[in-house]
Amino acid sequence: MTTQAPVVDMTNISISFPGVKALDRVNFRMFPGEVHSLMGENGAGKSTMIKALTGVYPIDSGSIMLDGKPLVISGPAQAQEAGISTVYQEVHLLTNLSVAENIMLGREPRRGAAIDWRAMRARAAEILDGLNLDIDPASQLGSHSLAVQQLVAIARAIDVQAKVLILDEPTSSLDVDEVSELFRVIRSLKEDGVAILFVSHFLEQVYEISDRLTVLRNGQLVGEYLTDEILRIELVHKMIGKDIAVLSDLDRKARAPISEESEEMPFVQAIGLGRKGSIAPVDLDVYEGEVVGLAGLLGSGRTELARLLSGADRPDHGELKIGGRALRLRTPRLALKSRIAYSSENRRSEGIIEDLSVRDNIVLALQADRGWFRRIPRKRQDELAASYIQALNIRPPDPDAIVKNLSGGNQQKVLLARWLAVAPRLLILDEPTRGIDVGAKAEIQKLVSDLAENGMSVVFISAELEEVLRLSHRIVVMRDREKVADIVNDDVTVGQIMTLIASGAES
């Protein structure tokens, strides 16, 4: 493999933003027919590297060679023409257009001068089929969940006959099935000689799919390794620069089944809570100090349920009791008043406030809860920001940094900080660890676990079943927007849950 000439050869790449040296004389190369993983903590510079390669950011210095020729481009359009196809980290598609257009726009089939809509939909359906995704190509993209959008973005990227395919955290909200579907496609592209750049914080996936790794730390190159020749622990060490112990510490600590023992009423009781057109009526109890995990496939209705519990959507039947009292949570604000916080899976459209600083984003919910006139004193704001920046290791550790300039993972941490700051009694976390690096993920899991121990109830949704199992006292399995099982997490295995998800309660 190494005997070949590299298809991408980036040397001495530097990019700096005001106050941050995002990339510092980094070298990076890719060979045809290999899957190359770019590894590093949140904010290490992975996405910046990708944006340098695709012309989104002009580089300050260094050179980029594609197929042995210097690559001079000024934007993604030209990168595409040069044969580089990219899925950017945050799903960057046009939510107001149809799924078909999002896949085909730029190379749409035509009849004469006009777009041939029928052919376009047919072709899109074919591509979606290749990913085993059964959605209507004519439907509006924005009506689908983030995971589906992510798959659509992937569909768009792999359909081009590209020399280089770049996937920046493509699997962050996909479930196991979807991931294996994606890997099948990646392998077949690899066979065709495409060079694939793969970024993920899931080490299993990296080890499963990639041939070679490049590790970045703080914008600097740590080294390039063959996947087979580096141990996980070594890799993590290289990424983080120090050992981490917490990772194993939390693993599979036996969970006391709180719900069975407790004499008390459950803190949250949902009785037949449902909403027409989105989720069938569900019963759900969450006790104080209990972590309830929601498991299910894409579109199984986990997010929908979370939204009903948190007042983000209004239920149209059923009842919700908080601490024994029936409440109608018509808005998230009322939920917040009952100390229920909801961290949305869609951090870009429902999470962070892009143009505000880290500090403002962290104090926002707390401030909204206190009302306009009881402004949190500046000193207190600074304390809050500083403590969460430290606790969650947000980088850069600058409370005045504008959130949209943070790396994806750090944005997620800021969002989490916002919800922790309101000291909720029920915290609903929808994909809270999406895009978060190994170290931080472990920290967050530990944090959730500690908070629960101190009496907070948590509803935890994650595409990563291991994570759900590791954290939850109880697991609710959803399928086709119905609750199909409610199991206590003692010695449950991923396999068992998968069977439940696949076949429902009948098994």
Binding site: V56, L364, A368, K404
Partner: protein, 347 residues
């Protein structure tokens, strides 16, 4: 480069201030004693004072507009509200037996301001409760409101003779024209309200991402409602000021196109019409630029035929100077990431 100089250069109000100074210098060049301010009967007089006084209504309206724009809205009805409040106050005073009694004037002012608040609340209701796009919601009042003002005055100019009322737009407090004191007072109030309470943060957050703000528990509806009420209040006071300045209410022409001037002031001051971050200080400078521009046209003696061309050039120059894109494209060697004006996350 000297660090303080380079810091000043980077300040986002640097270029607007330079433009303002440039215009003032142009005036001095044509008319050397432009800057002179004299004290006459304990009142300050001079061109600069005139600029401030005549710019006061625009500044007021622009203040309200700034907050509305920060929530991603726009208020086209301010001109109509200006006309209505002036018309109402003058009609009440003209109809009263004693136009010179302070109680009559206070009542007239009070009633007009109440009406302005109601009109603002009406806009807020259409935008935040019914969910009509701001430009159309306020267009309704823009059209009907001027009719309402004319209904009050029956299309005539209502001239009044009331010394206490005259103070608002033409009188003096502490040597300064009262209108300047009122406008700066409202400015301070707005600054205080948004800085010392959490309102500023919440307004910005609603303007940047209403959906995410809702999830975070922000009462977007009341906030939007409130900014329109504030804008109504500002326009109402401006209306009193304008009518008081000429001791007459002209329902047809009072506040005509003031919404454009106000929006222009806001935007020149660096606030984006896309909502979010706003700058009251910028609005202050913006309003000053617009009024200075008008005065400059008179002082320099620009022919009415080419006044608009001149204004267009100044507007475009100040905006280009401010444009970070131009600054990177010209001189500076430092390269900047490609971002589009619509912004977005670059993760």
């Amino acid at each position: 480069m000297n660090p303080t100089v380079s810091k000043a250069l980077k300040h986002r109000l640097f270029w607007p201030i330079v433009t303002l100074l440039g215009l003032l210098v142009l005036n001095v060049a044509v008319y050397p004693s432009f800057f002179s301010i004299r004290l006459q009967d304990g009142h300050l007089f001079g061109s600069l004072i005139d600029i401030l006084r005549n710019g006061a209504p625009t500044l007021l309206v622009a203040l309200g507009m700034t907050l509305v724009i920060a929530t991603r809205g726009i208020d086209l009805s301010v001109g109509a509200v200006v006309a209505i409040s002036g018309a109402l106050a003058c009609s009440i005073i003209a109809g009263s037996s004693d136009p010179n009694s302070p109680t009559t004037v206070l009542a007239a002012v009070g009633i007009s301001i109440m009406l302005a608040l109601v009109l603002g609340a009406w806009n807020g209701f259409l935008v935040s409760v019914i969910g009509i796009q701001p430009i159309i919601a306020t267009l309704i009042l823009m059209t009907a409101g001027r009719g309402l003002a004319m209904l009050i005055t029956e299309g005539q100019i209502v001239t009044i003779n009331s010394a206490p009322y005259k103070v608002i737009g033409g009188g003096y407090w502490l040597a300064l024209p009262a209108s300047i004191v009122i406008a700066l007072g409202m400015f301070a109030l707005a600054a205080l309200l948004t800085r010392k309470t959490a309102l500023g943060l919440l307004i910005e957050s609603v303007g940047i991402n209403p959906q995410a703000s809702r999830i975070a528990g922000v009462r977007s509806r009341s906030i939007i409602w409130m900014v329109y009420i504030f804008s109504g209040l500002c326009a109402g006071i401006a209306g009193l000021m304008i009518s008081s300045n000429v001791t007459a209410a002209d329902a047809n022409n009072a506040g005509l196109w003031i919404e454009m001037d106000a929006i222009l002031a806001v935007v020149i001051g660096g606030t984006s019409l896309a909502g979010g971050r706003y700058s009251l200080g910028g609005t202050l400078i913006g309003a000053a630029i617009i009024q200075t521009l008008t005065t400059t046209v008179y002082t320099v003696g620009i022919a009415p035929e080419i006044t608009l061309v001149f204004k267009a050039l100044v507007v475009i120059i100040v905006c280009l100077l401010q444009s970070p894109a131009l600054q990177t494209r010209l001189g500076s060697l430092r390269r900047r990431p490609v971002t589009t004006s619509t912004g977005g996350v670059l993760s």
